[in-house]
């Protein structure tokens, strides 16, 4: 197993060297423009940033963001199955330590502190950027792991654009996407509609159920279907941009979505077919209004947004004569009002300042209408941010960021960040980066007020992070190499864990200390030759996330162990090849073993073996008069492997999808 990791890591490291050879021997074409991402920006000094290539966003438009993040970034996604909830963790931290924003406003649930990334279609994203670790302080506090930022962008140059995507796949899967763009250089509208649904009724050998063969007495495992696993998601994104004057930009963006999924029984379930039926509905509405003013004295931005999430969780039985009877019917309403005023100014060419004020208000009400259990609470947040960025000569950038937050009037300890970038070789994009920062993450409203046993006395989680890295990029003629290696160390104290209180109840306390150290490596390498184009992008992460807390009791074996569900090694690679109008994509994704016990038991039962997933797709693009048409055939789980990615939840075997795109 280790061998494979070495080969994989070796290839990623060797690739830039390899590119050298290829350039020398093959590429003689005149230089074309390669849009390189700048890496020596004083505003980003010391931080680790990832911008996902827009070509990847386009190619994976019919996937959910959870799939894209696990396939193309170093973020670890814990997915509970196909179409099921998926959460993101950076650098071995908890899902709640990842801050998520959409067009600048936070869309993390104030109740749970996290986002279900399986519910975000890549289709609605025009720009996806990640800030690893403390770099997220520039957006908001609390992103001890990092932040994921989703943006929409106007396409000013297009007067009219119409596109439609139809996907049809295995297990009754249908995806429809429609986009209409209208406008001119002063006003622009974009409308996106989408609809995804799947029966998700794949078959598997059910190892959780044993039938005794009456003749031989042997235990047999039946062939089973993923019952009650269907999902449905549809939504609308409406963007409106107005540029009344060259110095002013106004925008209003709305995103509404409804998602519904049935939650399958445990695979070992042999209860009645009409009982324990679990279902989850989520309706969300987000809207953000922005005004950007490029004044002579600096850039102002006023942003005001709303994020509302309604989540219903239902467990019901069908009773003859009575219809359906709920056993649990939990209804949660979450409303967040989010406002930001910011100001940026360049003072000369070498010094810039930034100031920001955030004022947010959250309301959560949640109740199980069957038992009457629930809570209704709110939270007010005020955050002040100031940053000072300076360039010293051509080779040194410095970035000092300071943040002070108040939660319900109480000051959170001060959040500072200091980062530097140093250009190692004059004229080359070879940058040494380093930073040190402190960050705080507030307990979620569930941590504080959950009935029973929410703990209003919880302290914020505290992270102290150091990191250092090297980044290199080079564009020559028509190819580009970009690579980076980052080392980090985060000491997280007062980590909140839900531990047993009394039988059947848990309570959250500030108990754990976690030391998370690791490496992140990424590589992107692309180029063109006449009708041939290629691209390889890959990431590798080494993530040691160790429990450093005191044992709860003398027999507690979790101290010094890797946190549950965090793989020590993870990596992915995507290969794109294009010839004339045809394209081929190979996607590989892997994780090393994951533990489900805090003591890292290696018993077969509690251990998730290493995961290797291979997908391929082929397609072509054609033009019929004004219509651009493309067709693509995708194969998921190429080697038809039986596997599971959470305990006892078998995943689908080889499956297929056809995607047809029309562009006008």
């Amino acid at each position: 197993m280790k061998r494979i990791w070495f080969i994989f890591a070796g290839l990623l490291v060797a690739a830039p060297l390899l590119s050298q050879g290829i350039r020398d021997s093959l590429f003689t074409i005149e230089a074309v423009e390669v849009t390189g991402q700048r890496s020596f920006i004083k505003e980003e000094a010391g931080g680790k940033y990832t911008v996902v290539d827009t070509s990847i966003l386009k190619e994976k438009a019919s996937l959910s963001l959870s799939e894209l993040l696990s396939e193309n970034t170093s973020v670890f996604i814990k997915s509970n199955g196909r179409g099921a909830m998926a959460t993101a963790s950076f650098r071995g931290t908890a899902a709640s330590h990842t801050q998520v924003s959409w067009n600048g406003i936070s869309i993390s649930s104030p109740m749970l502190g996290m986002v279900d990334f399986s519910l975000i279609p890549v289709y609605i994203i025009d720009n996806l950027s990640l800030k690893h670790g403390a770099a997220s302080i520039s957006d908001r506090g609390g992103g001890i792991g990092g932040s994921i930022n989703i943006e929409n962008r106007p396409q000013w140059e297009e007067k009219f654009a119409l596109s439609y995507i139809q996907g049809v796949g295995s297990y009754g899967t249908f995806d429809e996407y429609l986009q209409l763009g209208l406008g001119n250089t002063k006003i622009k509208s974009s409308t996106r509609l989408y609809h995804n649904q799947s029966q998700n009724d794949y078959t598997f050998i059910n190892r959780g159920i044993g039938n005794l063969d009456p003749e031989t007495g042997e235990v047999e495992n039946p062939l089973d279907t993923n019952k009650n696993g269907s999902y449905l998601r549809y939504g609308l994104v409406q963007e409106l941009y107005v540029r009344p004057h060259k110095d002013h930009l106004l925008s209003l963006v709305y995103w509404g979505q409804f998602g519904q999924r049935a939650i399958p029984w445990p695979t070992s379930y042999e209860g009645p077919d009409n009982a324990n039926l679990n279902k989850q509905d989520q309706a969300s509405h987000k809207v953000v209004a922005r005004w950007k003013y490029y004044a002579p004295v600096g850039k102002f931005e006023l942003r005001s947004g709303y994020s509302g999430i309604q989540m219903d969780y239902l467990q019901e039985r069908k009773v003859p004569g009575l219809g359906t009877v709920p056993d649990i019917y939990s209804v949660s309403d979450q409303n967040s009002f989010l406002n930001t005023l910011s100001y940026e100014r360049e003072l000369g060419s070498r010094f810039s300042v930034e100031g920001k004020l955030d004022v947010n208000h959250h309301e959560v009400s949640t109740i199980d209408t069957v038992s009457g259990l629930g809570y209704q609470e709110q939270r007010n947040e005020v955050s002040l941010f100031a940053a000072f960025r300076k360039s010293f000569g051509e080779r040194l950038n410095m970035n000092l960021m300071l943040r002070q937050e108040w939660v319900d009037g109480r000051a959170v300890p001060f959040i500072p960040f200091l980062g530097v970038d140093y250009r190692l070789l004059k004229g080359e994009e070879l940058i040494l980066k380093a930073s040190v920062a402190r960050n705080y993450h507030q307990p979620t409203l569930n941590d504080l007020y959950w009935q029973p046993n929410g703990n209003p006395d919880l302290l914020p989680e505290e992270g102290f992070t150091m990191e250092a890295g090297l980044e290199y990029q080079k564009s020559f003629r028509n190819q580009q190499v970009k690579t980076g290696l980052t080392w980090y160390r985060s000491d997280i104290e007062n980590w909140i864990m839900w531990i047993p209180s009394t039988r059947m109840n848990l309570e959250p306390i500030n108990i754990e200390e976690v030391l998370s150290t690791g490496l992140e490596y990424d590589l992107s390498f692309r180029g063109e030759l006449q009708n041939f184009s290629y691209g390889i992008t890959g990431t590798y992460a080494y993530t040691s996330s160790e429990n450093r807390g005191d044992p709860l009791v003398w027999g507690d074996e979790s101290t010094g162990k890797q946190l549950v569900y965090i793989p020590l090694h993870s990596g992915n690679m995507m290969l794109n090849l294009g010839l004339h109008n045809y394209f081929f994509t190979y996607q590989f994704n892997a994780y090393s073993e994951r533990f489900t016990t805090s003591s890292n038991d290696l018993s077969r039962r509690d251990w998730l073996y290493p995961y290797f997933m291979n997908d391929v797709s082929v397609g072509g693009e054609f033009r019929i008069k004004k219509v651009r048409l493309s067709a693509e055939f995708k194969v998921y789980n190429l080697f038809n492997e039986s596997y599971h990615s959470v305990l006892y939840r078998p995943m689908p075997g080889r499956n297929y999808m056809v995607v047809i795109k029309f562009n006008l």
Binding site: Y269, G372, S642
Partner: protein, 364 residues
Amino acid sequence: MKQLFSILLLLLAALTSCMKDDELWDFERLGVDKLQGVFIINEGNFTYGNSSLSFYDVSSGEVLNDIFYNTNALPLGDVALSMTIRDSLAYVVVNNSGRIYVMSASTFQYRGKITGLTSPRYIHFVSDSKAYVSDLYARSIAIINPLSMEVTGSIDVGNTQGGFHQHSSEQMLQYGKYVYTNCWSFDNKVLVIDSERDVVVDSIEVLKQPNSMVMDRYHNLWVLSDGGFEGSPYGYEAPGLMKIEAGSREAVVVHRFERGEQPSELHINGGGDTLWFLNRHLYRLPLEGEAPTLPELFVESPYGPGFNGGFYGLDIDPASSELYISDAVDYVQRGMVYRIAANGVPMDTLRVGISPASFCFKQE
């Protein structure tokens, strides 16, 4: 370019090695034949499907973990809750898998299953061919035939009068032809079932949320209520211990705990004259004559004052009166069991499965 492709091909070839799903059932099976010992039922985590059975051989001190899976290459299921031995067979109630697994109590070999149960909790044998299965959500008690391993009927116990979906059924005890079951969830009743007619014939009001009960040698039912919790929509009262005379069904409160205390796991020794329960620590209450004394602290929890939890499960070997106390630690690692002699002397510490919740004693 060729270089690149050959490396990619090599890489592809290296990666086709499969994931190790086969290891989950392709292994050497456990083959034992045990006369006597203690089963530990490990609940595991809800929806993880990682519950398991452990076996402690008292004479040798050997602990066998995950015995059902290791014997049958079949996982026990999701949240195993309780186990009862009848003759040579053991019946394991697997709550969130909606079934009862039947296995040999000595070789642990899988013998069959009773399926179609909504949220089964405990099994109680009325006779060789009739048993009751209590249930958290069904609002009925399932009647099963253990011989044919089939559900043969049900006893409706539901109550929708009080604004709450009431009468989940938990533990069961029998006096004469009457079976008593405590209703824990948002409830304050002990129901009385006529086991000849399979109907509820009476209900006894007790303190809020009776979580466990036992019967002493004088045919008194002892019921421990946790009182609910602060802020519960059903209401909250100080927890307490009640005594119900099984024949007359007269109930009296014997002991009242402080508000905020969370007593659970009421058990009785084999002689039926000493009560044991958990209330952060382990307590004992000898039943001497008519007026019992206050519960006395017997073993202190190893957890500091910041922790409400600590001990998780409790039982008493009916033959030796030795105590078995379980500790689930953080719920996500293999838990521990302390074996303690009746006089309080520690005898052994066992490392068992995840969330060890209850015990079952196999006598020779």
